[in-house]
């Protein structure tokens, strides 16, 4: 069992649309200067930006590191799924990580630990929990006046990007990750696997052609975790942190959001039928618990009824 194959190399596919400032910080958080114990050679960041009137652009995308490759696309549909499949097709690594929402900054150990897990098990599924910056979910906070200025103050308060783990101090678990670390979540905004596995899965389902890709990300996560011979590792002590940017489900006002949710849900039912329950795989935990993660470990234990 111990044949050490070639060193895994990670291609991170990051999708950007109408969020230049947030995406810039996300790319900074993926840079070798911020990520610990990795070099530019260990991974690449493939930024795929769908055209909009608020472009990030090549110059800003590539300013932090030479391992960033930028692609600008014209997209006729209101979905990131084609951009994701396009981005993965550009990958030069042995493994790929999908970040469907470019507004999610990450913690400093996520790249090293993803590579470590692929060294343990090349066929693994790797994900990390998702968070929202702020003291409540952004889809709620937006109704109470939360905005980009409020978020900028929070980031300033933890002196980001000095210690990226302090993001945990100013965040709450995403709705899809409320169940915590000891069970599979509903999705992840950092989903990694081998390129072989990616091809077997056929990538992300391009029929999710509605706002934000609808449930395409949940579908990908479930198909990956449910696929045979795929041990599931959770980087419980890392995370992806959603910055407010007026996205489809996290940044619109209540009534409008409910209408869109219904629409996305209808499409998901049409595509997947009844097979929409969250995966049952129990995660193998991997990671070093920064002090700021402790409260989320406590929360996670409560979620599974630990006494």
């Amino acid at each position: 069992m111990f044949i050490f194959k070639r060193k895994p190399r990670l291609s991170i596919v990051l999708i950007v649309y109408k969020m230049p400032d947030q995406a810039e910080r996300t790319i900074q958080s993926l840079s070798p200067a911020y990520q610990r114990d990795v070099s530019e050679k260990d991974y690449e960041v493939i930024v795929v930006e769908n055209h909009s009137d608020r472009l990030l652009g090549r110059e800003r995308a590539t300013q932090y590191a030479s391992n960033v490759r930028y692609f600008h696309r014209n997209e006729t549909q209101r979905t990131p799924v084609h951009a994701i499949n396009f981005g993965a097709a550009q990958a030069r690594g042995s493994h790929v990580a999908i970040m469907i929402d470019g507004a999610r900054m990450v913690t400093p150990g996520i790249v090293r630990q993803t590579l470590d897990v692929f060294h343990i098990a090349s066929n693994a599924a790797v994900s990390s929990p998702g968070y929202h910056i702020g003291d409540k979910l952004q889809q709620i906070a937006v109704n109470e006046g939360y905005n980009e200025e409020a978020e900028a103050q929070l980031l300033q308060g933890i002196q980001w990007p000095q210690d990226g783990y302090r993001l945990f101090d100013i965040a709450v678990l995403s709705g899809s990750c409320q169940g915590g670390f000891f069970q599979a979540n509903a999705e992840s905004n950092f989903i990694a696997m081998s390129m072989k596995k990616w091809r077997e899965l056929g990538g992300v389902d391009s029929r999710y052609d509605d706002f934000g890709g609808g449930n395409a990300n949940l579908d990908l996560y479930k198909r990956l975790l449910d696929s045979p011979n795929t041990p599931y590792y959770l980087l419980y002590a890392e995370g992806s942190f959603h910055q407010f940017h007026g996205g489809v489900t996290t940044g619109t006002l209540k009534e409008e959001r409910a209408r869109i949710y219904k629409q996305l849900d209808d499409q998901d039912i049409a595509l997947r039928g009844d097979n929409r329950s969250r995966p049952t795989a129990q995660p193998i935990l991997f990671g070093m618990a920064h002090p700021s993660v402790y409260r989320f470990i406590r929360h996670s234990l409560d979620q599974v009824g630990s006494k």
């Binding site: 069992m1 111990f2 610990r36 470590d116 897990v117 060294h119 343990i120 098990a121 210690d163 000891f182 419980y236 002590a237 129990q282 995660p283 193998i284 935990l285 991997f286 990671g287 070093m288 618990a289 002090p291 402790y294 470990i297 406590r298 234990l301 599974v304 009824g305 630990s306 006494k307």
Partner: protein, 324 residues
């Protein structure tokens, strides 16, 4: 079999029934997610009036090799070194006290850590069977018979994780997995690091090896190449067997004083638990969660205390500096 990657050395002395339970817990039909070819178990027994039943060991599935030695001294140090000469594995598991049964994921996750890095040190937290620390077993009316009844109640060896249901946290890791461990009674490390630290120092000649296990743990943990892992969802569970410090005997205090003095002398300074930050690895099954909950509470208190006092919680971890 071809040369295994992992050799697990188990030292036994005068603990016939308990050591056999330990070996059952190490067999590939009990350990999950591993095959017999992945590892060997080297059992080294120092002769006593109650030696192990060789035919029972031979009947176990897996790769067990049993050695009975005549030991002139009272320490397991020489037995460990003898076991090490027999070990074919690149990686070593050491159980200095053969009376410790394991949960079913120990071998799998230890091998996983070595796949992540050659220089892994894998720490398995320790527990005592029964509600109380076993050095006070007489006070609490605990006995081998009661322990056997507990094991019977959980249907052991089926579902080995139920050991957590009949146990209490061990003294070496009393404050849980987010505190520095004092020692580890089921420890995995690369063979070359064990060579580097001089193997088991036979100057530890007191009964049971005295503080030898603490000494080895500290040297391995602080080896410049070591990367520490802790299997928070697994455990080694001590069975009552009248050991030197784990049973309630007269003169225990005196024994501990001698051990401590020898440790300070051989180490060259007073012992402290190595303050290193481990990677937590593995699944956490439900029965283990109450311990993780205690761990995170106690760990949080420690970090707050360190912050108040301006101390680095992982002061022995050279790798931690750039993380601050």
């Amino acid at each position: 079999m071809s040369k295994p990657l992992l050799s697990i050395i188990v030292i036994a002395y005068d603990m016939q029934r308990q050591a056999l339970n330990t070996l059952i817990s190490l067999s590939p039909c009990y350990q999950e997610g591993v095959s017999a070819d992945d590892y060997e178990v080297i059992v080294v027994e120092n002769r006593s009036k109650r030696n192990m039943d060789v035919s029972a060991i031979a009947a176990l599935p897996g790769n067990f090799r049993y050695f009975l030695r005549d030991e002139p001294g009272v320490s397991p140090a020489a037995a460990i070194n003898f076991g090490f000469t027999q070990a074919g594995g690149e990686f070593i598991g050491l159980m200095i006290d053969g009376a410790r049964m394991l949960t079913p994921g120990v071998v799998r996750y230890a091998l996983m850590a070595f796949r992540a890095t050659h220089n892994a040190m894998v720490v398995v937290p320790g527990y005592n069977l029964g509600e109380n620390e076993q050095q006070f077993h007489l006070t609490h009316g605990y006995s081998e018979e009661k322990e056997q009844a507990l094991l019977h109640d959980i249907g052991w060896p089926q579902n080995g994780y139920r050991l957590f249901n009949i146990s209490s946290i061990g003294g070496a890791n009393r404050r849980g997995v987010f505190h520095p461990f004092m020692e580890c009674n089921c420890l995995f490390f690369p063979a070359d690091i064990f060579r580097d630290i001089g193997q088991a120092d036979e100057r530890f000649n007191l009964p049971g090896g005295g503080a030898l296990n603490l000494y080895m743990y500290r040297l391995i943990a602080l080896h410049s190449l070591t990367e520490a892992f802790v299997l928070a969802g697994e455990g080694s569970f001590h069975q009552l067997h009248g050991g030197v410090t784990t049973s309630e005997t007269n003169g225990r205090e005196h024994v501990l004083e001698r051990q401590s003095a020898q440790l300070t002398e051989l180490l060259g300074y007073p012992y402290t638990s190595p303050k290193i930050e481990p990677i937590l690895l593995g699944k956490i099954r439900h029965p283990a969660m109450r311990y993780l909950k205690q761990s995170v509470e106690r760990g949080g208190e420690r970090l707050e205390r360190c912050a108040r006092q301006g101390l680095n919680p992982y002061a022995d971890d050279a790798k931690y500096e750039h993380k601050l």
